[in-house]
Amino acid sequence: MSTQASVDQPKATQPSLGGFFKSHLREYGILIALVVIMALFQFLTDGILLKPLNLTNLFLQNSYIIIMALGMLMVIVCGHIDLSVGSVLGFIGALAAVMMVQWGWPAPVTFVACLVVGTLIGMAQGYWIAYYRIPAFIVTLAGMLVFKGLTLWLLGGQSVGPFPETFQKLSTGFLPNLLPGEGFHLTSMLLGIAVAALLLYFNIRARAKQAQYGAAREPLQFFWLRNGLIAAAVIYITYLLSTYKGPPNVLILMALLISIYTFVTQRTTFGRRIYAIGGNEKAAMLSGINTKRLTFLTFANMGMLAALAGMVFAARLNMATPKAGLAFELDVIAAVFIGGASMRGGSGKIIGAVIGALIMGVMNNGMSILGVGIDWQQVIKGLVLLAAVIFDVYNKNKSG
């Protein structure tokens, strides 16, 4: 009844700053958390955190988690979970190694073949989940064991490597500098500025369109503050990277994937349907949404991204090891939940999952620099995950 009365209130064209901030605390909160954590470690490590070399490492170290988080977000939005991604990552790394080192396949062929195999693995798991309604937890738990075992079998318990140079480039390569300049990577700097400008352009255009329909709810100050900060961050980070070797290839790959998946989840009918399925599967089904096929595709996509992450990871180490991917699924799932996705499905954003992964990554990296042992790192990461979800639930109860 309170809700009934509250919606009858007159339409507020410009919500108050404080009110808007409160109702979007979750979205801004995670971004603020990332900035605060980065500032904290920047201070504690005497500025090592944002040194160009370390920043490059930070992206390299977390790329595979972020790549898998993109797929995991969709799986979780759809109302499922995938526990097998760590094992699949390890398995594909091993498969790639065997293909290239033992069978002598060229890197590009291996790359495509591995993506196909990863997709097939995702499809095999998704098939049981979508069409036979076997809980994803069970199917992917089985998958986790199966692919962990297959990795060991494939590698015979040995590490296999090294890889051809073209394959290594996937992770350790850098964007070539096409423009002249010693010690400064002008190409990437210009690229960074272009990306920032493009982001600004798209957001301003969307805002103008919203305003035209009278649907702009974000106060103007927030809009400029948010976009200004994002643009500044992009330019600053590319500047830092430009003073070293420029952006690593994998960063470009990640940026592309993040853009694509943000677009797919937010702007396409496919994305919309995934959210509807997670929100209320029965209602989605009775609205003519092919819930089974979409669930199936979500897992197929997850398999493909796990394969990609597997190759990125293997390329970085320049070998495949039997232990690769151990417990990675937990980091990926944690990143998605820190990023604000709901366990029940139906909510969560790509950018949230990426920021969630970065928070974990910065903490790992920062604590390692500080010499915090792996034991306490785990404890602290666990508490951060718990705190993020408690914050979520508390926030929801207060607003609901």
């Binding site: 209130q9 329909y213 349907r273 209320n280 609205s287 003519g288």
Partner: protein
Amino acid sequence: MNTILEMRGITKTFPGVKALDNVNLAIRDGEIHALVGENGAGKSTLMKVLSGVHPHGSYDGDILFDGEIRSFKSIADSERLGIIIIHQELALVPLLSIAENIYLGNEQAQKGVIDWPRSYAQTEKLLAKVGLSEAPGTPVGELGVGKQQLVEIAKALSKNVRLLILDEPTASLNEAESAALLELLKEFRAQGITSILISHKLNEVKQVADTVTVLRDGATVSRLDCSTETISEDRIVADMVGRSLSDRFPPRTPNIGDIVFKVRDWNVFHPQQSDRQIIRNVSLDVRAGEIVGIAGLMGSGRTELAMSIFGRSYGQKISGEVTLHDQPMDVSSVQRAVGSGLAYATEDRKTYGLVLDDTISRNVSMANLGAVSRAAIMDDHYEDSVAEGYRHKINIKTPHVQQKAVNLSGGNQQKVVLSKWLFTDPEVLILDEPTRGIDVGAKYEIYSLINELAAQHKAIIVISSEMPELLGISDRIYVMNEGELIGELPREQASQETIMTMIIQSGRH
């Protein structure tokens, strides 16, 4: 008679909203007191204040029970005094037995060890009191909604109830079950148990209530004593809506065309038990611009019929033919059924109709995303403008279409569900319980909308358990029982009596 409960000057505010404004309620000992009002009038909030869900201190005013001022901090406090509330959504655990449910949280135990023989014996006694003959060990999930309701009441009795509050108890019951429940309330009255009945069904209120309190917009509008004066339904409705609603059904001049939609020899079997036939040889026709009602008791197979036609969403081994304009209609999946011009608005809008956490706008477009996208890319602005259009056209009360569906009242949620289906531009609409649990004013609006659709030459099937509603809006009524259509009545011949007689007679052979 003494006053058992008095609520004086209750005012409850939520941030920015005054939900209750100086509400007074006095309940005499041993009476049946009906509390009526539109959705959003403040009934549930008032009962939450009474039962301690909104604890003492979060509202202004006093609660007097047995003449003493009480300050309940929680439900446990009010239950201790025998104030028991039974919510519209039943709070039973389907996998536990009747006895386990009744004594949940109140186990008959000694030193933590449950005394099962005693629990069962007492459960049997309680069940006898509410007229149930089920074994106490039966899992609650195996009972129908009507019987589950009785289990809830038995549970209340186990707690030595003095004031029983029933929130829309007959909302999901059929006529026979409703009648039995009302009889039970009368029996309780004879035993000295006081009841508060919250109901939208004014005929029931008239039947059993000694006193009626009407709430509107969070304030007490009137208190009507049925023992001293005869209260007409129209009088109550007038108080509820604040305007006189001379006719509960909007006027309409039917303009009926040719047969548009045909179902022939429809047979459906139970989804798990493949030898159990749920729908038998159903054949029906609907003409353009015609509103056809399907009457029947709960479990007669009406929803199963509709769902099995709508993309085979129910059952297996489905056989039969569906045609539109004498052309076979492909209803083999929901997508195809929608694509060929069929729409089905489900009976339970929260479970089957809406994504509650999504916005109105997203719910409206859900069944027709193709129309608000180009090459699979959503046009969010067009999507919003579509929802905005329906908001104006059928009066969805909300400041903007970015509001989440969960925040709307039942009537407005139903309008969102209807908008969703209107946006698919169907030729045939099946509406399953379109006005369940929504208030009189919103019902009138939904009826007007149905009439308007009929005027646009749509073929409309309405499934409803409220017979006055079917009689009020249908041009023709099919009567269904045990999976079969047992009769067909034109509007002029249909009455509650003829329909009930048909059902009872068909059950005999």
